[in-house]
């Protein structure tokens, strides 16, 4: 059936040399777009891909929901007396964990994407070099925001009451998304270096599990052995959670916020430039 359809349209519309000759001279030849316009165009591509593959959004809705429900009810009674009590402590942490976990799809997506011919075309365009990757991250930011909203909504329904109010929650999500954007460059680099999607997934999981679990997400590290506390203290996720927790509870902790901002800048600069070197060398 499909064959018949495409054949008939082929026959009806076989291109003629004249028709093609007539459209060869474009009426206008604008200058190449600037860095922002090019990135925005790639961001639009990411949105179009969501439109055609809505199943991509499953990761950012169902996964965070399961994480929130699971840990609230698994640990709540034992650790804090009740799930509701525990949720006040856990929610910012599980928010950070879920969003940081889904940043890995950046690398998986890039790895799948770059193997196809379309990236050859993008890389031969006279545009700002990082635009294709930055634009894809714009799409990712949307996914991070969606995941955040799902978790906060689920938390509120389960009894989470942030002391920082709407402003605190917005600031917390803002801080998290900023860090996630910066952290995504690690996955971009990995996506370019690794041979296939499976490899990217494996390495990402290997990094993400200790990074999110060996932290202050689930329990206060005070009762842990000293060496483990030392490890937890150098984990950037610990500081991110501390910062997000502080702004969402309304007692903002400038020291932790600064650490997150600096870590984000360093990640973007270091992994962004390593990624672009790799992108140009391929």
């Amino acid at each position: 059936m499909t064959t018949t359809v495409s054949t008939s349209s082929d026959v009806l519309a076989a291109p003629s040399r004249e028709a093609i000759g007539a459209v060869l001279d474009p009426t206008s030849r604008p200058p190449a777009p600037g860095a922002l316009a090019a990135s925005v165009a790639f961001g639009w591509r990411a949105l179009l891909r969501f439109k055609h593959m809505p199943e991509q959004l499953f990761d950012v809705t169902a996964f965070p929901l399961v994480m929130t429900l699971m840990f609230t009810y698994l640990f709540g009674g034992a650790l804090a007396g009740s799930p509701r009590e525990y949720l006040q402590f856990l929610l910012p942490g599980i928010l950070v964990t879920s969003v940081v976990m889904i940043t890995m799809y950046t690398g998986v997506g890039l790895n799948a994407d770059i193997g196809k011919g379309i990236f050859d075309r993008f890389r031969t365009l006279p545009i700002w070099r990082p635009a294709a990757l930055v634009g894809a991250l714009y799409g990712d930011i949307l996914r991070y925001l969606m995941a955040s909203l799902v978790i906060v909504a689920a938390g509120l329904a389960l009894g989470y009451r942030p002391g920082g109010g709407v402003a605190g929650v917005v600031a917390g999500i803002g801080l998290l998304v900023l860090f996630a954007f910066a952290f995504s460059w690690v996955w971009n680099l990995l996506g370019l270096v690794m041979r296939d999607e499976k490899g990217v997934t494996n390495v990402s999981m290997l990094l993400l599990f200790p990074l999110t679990f060996v932290s202050n997400v689930y329990v206060n590290p005070d009762t842990m052995p000293g060496w483990l506390q030392a490890v937890i203290n150098v984990n950037p996720i610990t500081h991110l959670v501390a910062a997000v927790r502080s702004v969402m509870s309304g007692e903002s902790n400038p020291g932790e916020i600064w650490r997150v901002l600096i870590a984000s800048a360093v990640l973007t600069i270091v992994f962004g430039s390593l990624t672009m070197r790799r992108y140009d060398r391929r």
């Binding site: 082929d10 060869l24 790639f42 891909r49 379309i118 050859d120």
Partner: protein
């Protein structure tokens, strides 16, 4: 840029690209004139795609240099990108998006505003016979439609240099001839087209000049006519009415044309090359001047002569044809060995060239 380089679209000297132990491109020298189709002919694994990817700034050469319209492909990569478009061997379009979305996206990436990009996309889709399929995802396109969309994307801002990497590989005959029409239109506009292909007939139909490459080097270069006369007039295929007369027929054919190339299994079918190392080759020891003389006219005459000799010997022939030399025959004539398959490429590496 010296005076001799003025009329050149692309110039490479000693271009090298190595992957692991394989020298995919091994000292490539090309001088590609402006405003025509230049064919790069070679088998799988000859280095065609690697060469194109270097020229299109997608790969960095390990040694040697190249310019596209006077710009160095490494130091002035961004200027080179402003001059070229690439239609890769694998569709350089986003299969998830529709045809329309692909062209609008590209239009915006080339600096058009959204409305303009849409208008240009509509124009191109109509000219390429894709209006009906505009709203369909590219992954649902046929191979020919995908290739047309790909080329449409490449000429959205009609480039000065267009790279087409095996544009017709895997296409059905009608889609192939559609791609040829598109290429002719683009060249008529003044664009220089660099076309890689595995098919001699394709290079012959489209290209003003052809470079034959093997193991990453140019092994022959010239106009299609020059190449064909170097290779010989082609191949005579004939079908005997009585396979029992095969031995007799072989004697006659090899007396007139030279060696008979065996056909596998089919006793009634005979195949013989006309030209290079037939008459001339066998006697004159492959003297290049003599080979040059053996043009296609001579080939036709000799083929006709074969036919009449067979008739005189009382051998009935059911079918007879004189075909263009195939890529295999080009290779056989130029390298004295058949087309190297990709699997052989590695073993060849150990043999110093």
């Amino acid at each position: 840029m010296d005076e001799a380089s003025q009329g050149l679209a692309i110039e490479t000297s000693g271009l090298v690209k190595t992957f692991g132990n394989t020298r995919a491109v091994d000292g490539l020298d090309l001088r590609i004139p402006k405003g025509a189709v230049y064919g790069i002919l070679g088998p799988n694994g000859a280095g065609k795609t690697t060469a194109v990817r270097m020229l299109a700034t997608l790969l960095r050469p390990d040694a040697g240099q190249a310019t596209v319209l006077g710009y160095d492909i490494v130091r002035e990569a961004q200027q080179v990108r402003g001059k070229l478009s690439l239609t890769g061997q694998y569709a350089s379009v986003d299969e998830t998006l529709t045809g329309m979305e692909n062209l609008v996206l590209l239009g915006r990436l080339l600096g058009h505003r959204r409305a303009e990009a849409r208008k240009r996309a509509d124009q191109l889709l109509a000219a390429f016979g894709l209006t009906e399929a505009a709203g369909r995802q590219v992954k649902k396109y046929s191979g020919g439609m995908r290739r047309r969309l790909d080329i449409a994307a490449s000429i959205l801002n009609t480039p000065e240099v267009l790279f087409l990497d095996e544009p017709t590989t895997g296409l059905d005959p009608r889609s192939r001839s559609q791609v040829w029409e598109i290429v002719r239109a683009v060249v008529a506009y003044g664009t220089t087209v660099l076309l890689t292909t595995q098919y001699l007939d394709e290079a012959d139909r489209l290209a003003a000049r052809i470079a034959v490459i093997d193991h990453g080097r140019v092994i022959a270069e010239g106009t299609p006519g020059e190449l064909k006369s170097a290779v010989g007039g082609g191949t005579v295929h004939l079908r005997l009415r009585d396979p029992g007369q095969r031995a007799q027929a072989e004697t006659v054919v090899s007396r007139v044309l030279g060696d008979v190339i065996e056909d596998d299994g089919d006793k009634a079918a005979l195949r013989a090359r006309v030209g290079a190392d037939a008459d001339v080759g066998a006697d004159a020891g492959c003297d290049p001047a003599a080979v040059e003389e053996a043009g296609s006219q001579a080939a036709a005459e000799r083929a006709a002569h074969t036919l009449s000799e067979l008739a005189r010997a009382g051998i009935a022939v059911d079918a007879f044809s004189l075909g263009q030399p195939s890529l295999d025959e080009v290779f056989l004539a130029l390298t004295d060995r058949p087309v190297t398959r990709a699997t052989d490429a590695r073993s060849h590496q150990e043999v110093p060239a």
